[in-house]
Symmetry: C2
């Protein structure tokens, strides 16, 4: 059993095209011995965004704090703390923090998507 | 993309030996098309518990609210909102809500563990 406090886990700025004001923390991953999937936590400052992108693996997301929009190439949906989002593999997707506070969410991926 | 509000997802009492005062919600799973892993949310009333048990699949847990203890057959660790717990496959584990409020956490499993 491994127990960690998420606030003490390193925060790294996400440096990618179309991404602004976003940090990632890897909460649980293959480096903890987890064989199948990884848990990351994203924090977007107000106005921060992860622009439209796509990859073969899926996301399961739980919004912890704040509000914003999640979108694909066809629709844009308001999301807030307590909402759950499922993004199938290969679907273009993005998120904008449109609220006045931090937008924070858990985002799970299969280990296939952990390219570190 | 599927978006749901977690408070609107059905809560089912967990009926198992050694479990008291515990509800489960399946937030995202194979029934949403997710190919690899499932996101569940557990809520334990004060005094509620999920007693020591084990299975071949791992857990990745994020504590959303409340406080309690997570334990295996060797150690017992205090946990609170914002903590992350990793339980390897086949490790005996359990949780007690030792606080005065609800203990709520996200618990991820590979689809192998979804026996519904």
């Amino acid at each position: 059993m491994i127990v960690k406090n998420s606030d003490e886990i390193e925060r790294c700025p996400v440096v990618m095209d179309n991404v602004e004001g976003t940090c990632i923390q890897w909460l649980v991953s293959k480096f903890d011995g987890s064989p199948n999937f990884a848990m990351r936590r994203f924090t977007l400052v107000p106005g921060g965004r992860i622009g439209l992108h796509q990859h073969p693996w899926e996301h399961e997301i739980y919004i912890l704090k704040g509000s914003g929009v999640a979108y694909n190439d066809e629709e844009k949906v308001q999301v807030k703390a307590g909402d759950v989002v499922y993004i199938p593999g290969n679907e273009p997707h993005g998120y904008d923090n449109t609220g006045g506070d931090e937008l924070m969410f858990i985002c799970m991926i299969p280990n296939e998507g952990d390219r570190r």
